[in-house]
Symmetry: C2
């Protein structure tokens, strides 16, 4: 799957992932009205609204981008109905040729991690049959529990030719509370925890190689470009999923250090900045009805911003 | 909800939580047959099997225990159908007067963490209506992303009078890879990361007090009793959820340090050791058909083991 990700990036020339994180307040009124007219102001109505919204955005941008990243929490908040919309979104994006990164940040131990891996990336056995649950291509994983938590995911990735992005340094302001702590390392030096986790990601990824990159990647926030520079070197063969661009404050110029010399190795996420572009002054001219066109314009601008930054480095 | 947890523990005299982590291989053949006869060897069939299994165990033990802890991964692996069984299990256990700890180990940032909190503990707004998604009483949370990730959960807990158990030191063998790292603290000392996280839990919990305990608790594995002793002092007002008893190797004698002098402050989880007791030689006499009676016997034995350990300390 990491090979497909690389191919898609080369084809589109856009190392961009669109975060499909549909909060109801982003969904245009005419779509909410349509969904609520059919199902009422219910969980099913909300799920229908976010599905219609996603679909129109995907239809408008799928030819420009290699991948999408639905954030499962935004669906899970609507309970079962929301998760049905999540699954539908995953399946639809795959039909459109997109790589789907399920932003699920799961993490547990042993058989429990395996159950998550099976449910999101693999197949579960029921008697003589086996079934895919949510069937994403990649998922994000929280490493706090150590190798016992990550290895079951890696096992399923090997079987299914899928992949992971493991949280290393997250984009939020308080990510430093634990991730930046200086820790004593075996070689006698003190290094920040995120670097220690990054080294582990490189180790986990070493025997999970696609053609040019490992299918065990990392999450490093755009809001911490200097740390990205270090982590790029610590994990040369890992793809870095970079959240925090746009709405969270990251800019194109901040991103260059996340990429390798080959122009690959990173994929930059924007959620609100793309999917709710029509709510920004800059794209207001499209109007709420044409929200998906505004999203397309925002993708094109993001693509240019990153390309310019990479050309100028 | 922490007050209800304390009441339930006092009433039953058993600081025990039964982990409802139904793997299909634990589910007796006669139940699997019944479910598959109705729905086929499908995800729906599997979900029906684990629901029937859960229900019979809950019916057999609910009067003995204060709380249950369904592990959502074991349901999520069966996709949407599995999650319907999860929700049904949560609702049924609450009907029976049990406190329900959703072992979801979620964790993200800002609005995303809030969406998880809303989906699992609170209500989501849809137009003029609001709905509970999964509606557990407590959930487990992963702290790797720092305060930005935890505060949205705390906000919903305050609104809903619910609670959290935050991962501090997990029970698995490799939990030390990151959690035991010695980190430089502001006061110039070096302390393990789990202690730093424990201090944060105590801080987060300080303004979230029930009558005698905070509703912001911690997870500390039974397999690390010495660390439990330290963490008990670091977080005197936090309930500690203790996994790792029984099948993972923890014994009653290991548990005493997790409790306060008042005999409260900890709740010990056993999953496989209770729900699949009938598969152990010790309880084989019950037979597969009477698996729920075997579970009841295992709860009674666990209760005695812990009571004896607490009496002898």
């Amino acid at each position: 799957m990491v090979n497909k990700l690389v191919e898609n990036i080369k084809r589109t020339g856009a190392p961009i992932v669109v975060g499909l994180d549909p909060m109801l307040k982003y969904v245009p009124q005419h779509i909410q009205k349509k969904a609520f007219a059919e199902y009422g102001e219910t969980l099913k109505g909300a799920a229908e609204a976010i599905w219609l919204y996603n679909k129109e955005i995907v239809d408008a941008v799928y030819d420009l981008i290699p991948a999408v990243k639905p954030q499962i929490a935004m669906y899970e908040q609507f309970g079962i109905e929301g998760l049905i919309a999540f699954r539908k979104t995953v399946a639809y994006c795959k039909e459109k040729g997109l790589v789907v990164i399920g932003d699920i940040k799961r993490g547990d131990i042993g058989s429990t991690s395996e159950a998550y891996a099976v449910g999101h990336l693999g197949k579960v056995q029921v008697g003589a049959n086996s079934y895919y649950g949510f069937d994403e291509d990649f998922v994000t994983v929280n490493p706090y529990l150590g190798s016992d938590g990550v290895n079951p995911f890696i096992k399923v990735c090997k079987e299914e030719k899928k992949g992971l992005f493991i949280l290393v340094k997250t984009s939020n302001p308080s990510s430093g509370e634990f991730q930046d702590r200086m820790v004593k390392c075996d070689d006698g030096t003190d290094r920040p925890l995120y670097e220690v986790v990054g080294e582990k990601v490189a180790q986990w990824g070493a025997d999970c190689m696609g053609d040019s990159y490992s299918y065990i990647g990392a999450v490093v926030g755009a809001t911490y470009p200097e740390m990205g520079k270090v982590l790029r070197k610590v994990m040369p063969k890992s793809f870095i999923l970079v959240p925090g661009y746009g709405a969270q404050g990251g800019k194109g110029a901040d991103l260059v250090h996340f990429f390798n010399e080959d122009g690959l190795g990173a994929i930059v996420n924007s959620s609100r900045g793309i999917i709710a572009a029509y709510q920004q002054e800059k794209y207001a001219k499209y109007g709420e009805e044409n929200f998906a066109e505004a999203s397309r314009a925002a993708v094109l601008e993001m693509k240019e911003d990153i390309a310019a930054a990479l050309a100028n480095r």
